[in-house]
Amino acid sequence: MWDEIMVYWQQEGSVMTPMVSLLLESVLVTLYMTVVSTVAAYILGLPMGIAMVVTAPGGLRPNHVTYRILDFVANIVRSVPFLILLILVIPLTRAIVGKAYGPTSAIVPLVLAAAPFIARMVESSLQEVDKGVIEAAQSMGADLWTIIWKVLLAEARTSLIVGATIVLGTVLGYSAMAGIVGGGGLGDIAIQYGYYRREEDVMWVSVILLVVLVQVMQYVGTLISKKTDKRVR
């Protein structure tokens, strides 16, 4: 996707210095890695978090074995530092993407790292839902799926959005680390130009761009969570 955009920019290149166009490309690459990884990680992590809450002791369908397994998986993946995970999963990345470098390849370890983190965030958000409201839904004859969709997820909405904002920020940080293995994006630029070539100004600009990205995400996330929260006023 960004290849086409870059071709377009290079055509209009008269106003762009190569460095500005490189930085802009990196912003897009970073956003691509962050957003795609987060969405994919939610596809895995959200059901995992829900399953943890449902099977936990005292949950809607307590199941000790399932809960223990999920809890264990969530913990081991989070105990491996991301940088090491990045290198550990190279064979898997190769098997899935076909190569071990580039932004798309970085998505594989990013998803693996983010999914258990998301599961934990979802778990804690859903645990905040008032047990009395769940009981009320049960007393009305609601089945498990209705309770998950219309009570747990709907009532925890604000907390889930806040969680997603935190996840985005974390994945963005991880994506910068993917630069080490040639993942591309702002982190890559900072390492390649700032560290290896000692072009400190490039490093500073990439860092500032990363900070701005996180600030914007946080601002938008907070705004959405506040707008959708009906518990106040």
């Binding site: 008032d130 409201v133 009981e135 007393s139 004859g141 609601a142 219309k150 006023r233």
Partner: protein, 336 residues
């Protein structure tokens, strides 16, 4: 009349880590159609557990519950859920969905039974009319007072035309005026729609206000049950007596251990000293012993009084008596 709810030898044991708690120890009770049945007990007596056994939110350890002669323990999950749509419940803390507005909260039980959205909304508006909250349809629970939230919960409870309404301490979080209004609403619902109401409470005043029958639960056991008049006029068990006497603060046991002995030697027997003291201090005393006689217009003898707990009032009383030339001495604890 046919009992709509039959509680049969229900026991419930909760397993702790290294102990087990017997919350219910074999309770049997029939509740008839159209009754407003109060289940009362001190906190921890097991009444909340009992009411949750009536819709199997808690499954009894042994024993069972029959609703319209159908055994809840014999039902499959799906059938049980269907039965629950006919047994509505309201709670102490209202338990509304905080992220939904009032109208959508009332629609929720109708979504569960798969009613069409337009029909559900129409019915929800009618129900809000009944509970007097039509103008709040678009408000969110956080914007409502406690009494209004309970009205929404009542409207929600009526949505699927239940046969039974369970109220778990439904007025305990409300002030006395609001409590009265909510109880009147419940009474109206019972009268207009013939819904059997089971009220769990720790306040005898609630039972007195609207219940036809009452069961007293004490320490996981059924202490006493019958019509409200029966239990009120002649409570037989200590648990019942305790609850009945709690209604009237003047009838409450005097808990103060502070007793005094007064000796009359030279007072006029025409002066009502004790009565005047009570009027002056505006607090009751308990006469534990009185042995006085009138000898030629002079009071002779002694009395033992139990003074109020309030130190200031007790001191005032002692002062009052001493001023009137009575001998006052404190006695540790008088056993008559």
């Amino acid at each position: 009349m046919e009992p709509i709810i039959q509680i049969q030898k229900v026991t419930k044991t909760f397993l702790g880590k290294d102990n087990q708690v017997e919350a219910l120890k074999g309770i049997s009770l029939d509740i008839e159609k159209g009754d407003i049945y109060g289940i009362i007990g001190m906190s921890g007596a097991g009444k909340s557990t009992l009411v949750r056994c009536l819709n199997f939110l808690e499954k009894p350890t042994t024993g069972t519950v029959l609703i319209e002669n159908k055994d809840l323990s014999a039902m499959a999950e799906k059938e049980l859920r269907k039965t629950r749509t006919e047994i509505a419940m309201i709670f102490q803390h209202f338990n509304l969905l905080m992220q939904r507005n009032v109208l959508d909260n009332v629609c929720f039980p109708m979504e569960i039974v798969g009613m069409k959205k337009a029909a559900a909304r129409k019915r929800a508006m009618e129900l809000l009319e009944i509970v007097g909250l039509s103008e709040k349809a678009k408000s969110y629970p956080a914007q409502l007072s406690g009494g209004q939230k309970q009205r929404v919960a009542i409207a929600r409870a009526l949505a699927n035309n239940p046969k039974i309404l369970l109220c778990d301490e439904a007025t305990s979080a409300l002030d006395p005026t609001t409590t009265k209004a909510i109880l009147q609403l419940l009474q109206q619902i019972n009268r207009d729609y013939g819904i059997t109401i089971v009220i769990i409470t720790h306040e005898m005043a609630v039972v007195q206000e609207i219940c036809s029958h009452v069961a007293i639960i004490d320490n996981g056991e059924l202490a006493e049950h019958g019509t409200v008049e029966e239990v009120f006029t002649s409570p037989k068990t200590p648990a019942a007596k305790k609850l009945v006497f709690m209604v009237n603060p003047q009838m409450a046991e005097m808990r103060s251990k502070r007793c005094i002995r007064i000796v009359f030697v030279e007072n006029s027997s025409f002066e009502p000293v004790i009565a005047n003291m009570i009027l002056e201090c505006k607090a009751p005393v308990n006469i534990l012993l009185a042995d006085t006689k009138d000898i030629n217009g002079i009071a002779h003898g002694q009395m033992i009084l139990q003074l109020p707990e309030d130190e200031a009032v007790a001191a005032k009383m002692i002062h009052y008596l001493e001023e009137r030339k009575l001998t006052v001495e404190e006695v540790d604890s008088y056993v008559g």
